[in-house]
Symmetry: C2
Subunit: 109 residues, 2 copies
C-alpha cells in the first residue's frame, strides 16, 4: 500500500481537470507544494477549517472518480507491463515472449 500523500499526488494529477479552480489551488498547494493548512488559510484569507473541509471533500471526490474510472489503477498496471516488456527487449526476448505482454497492454483499457 503506497503512502497516502503519494496516492493523492497521483489521483490529483489524473483528475485535476474535473476539479474547480479553488479545489485545484488548495490541492496543489497542499500536496504538490507542501504548504500547511494554516499557510493556505492565511494566503486566501479563510479559516483553517474551511481549507481542511475543502481538501477532505476533494480527496473523497478524486477517490470516487478513481473508483469509477480507475485511471491510476490502469496506469500502474500499464507501467508494470511496460517495465517487463522493456526488460525482455533488452535481453533480446523472442516474439513469442513479447507478444503476450503487448496483447495484455491492448486489453488494458
Amino acid at each position: 500500500m503506497i503512502d497516502k500523500t503519494v496516492r493523492m499526488n497521483y489521483l490529483f494529477d489524473f483528475y485535476q481537470e474535473l476539479l474547480t479552480t479553488k479545489q485545484n489551488q488548495y490541492m496543489s498547494l497542499y500536496y504538490l507544494d507542501d504548504w500547511s493548512l494554516g499557510e493556505i488559510a492565511d494566503y486566501f484569507d479563510v479559516s483553517r477549517q474551511a481549507v481542511y473541509d475543502n481538501i477532505r471533500r476533494t480527496e473523497a471526490m478524486v477517490e470516487q472518480y478513481e473508483t469509477k474510472l480507475r485511471l491510476f489503477d490502469r496506469f500502474e498496471k500499464k507501467q508494470l507491463l511496460l517495465k517487463e516488456l522493456k526488460q525482455l527487449v533488452q535481453n533480446n526476448g523472442r516474439p513469442q515472449e513479447l507478444m503476450p505482454l503487448i496483447e495484455a497492454l491492448e486489453k488494458l483499457e
Copy 2:
C-alpha cells in the same frame, strides 16, 4: 474523422460510469442497441423530445469529459503504438527499434 455514432460509442464506453442511471439507459439503447428516439420514449413513457434532449445533453457531457481527460484520444494513440510494436516484433525487430515505441507508450499518460 470517424463517424459520430462510432465516436459516441467509444465516448459512452469511456465515460458511462460518470453518467446517471437514466443517461446510461437512454445512451445504451440509442447507441448500442440502435433503438429510435420514439421507441425509447414509448418504453419509458416519456415524450420523444425529453429523450432527445437528454441524449443531446449527455453527448455534450461526454464530449466535455473527453476534452478534459482525453481517454479516447489516448486510447487511439496507444492502440497505434501497440500495432506498430506488434508488427516490429513479428518481423523480429531489434531492441533499438522496439525501445522508442515502448518509451512513447510510457509517456502516453
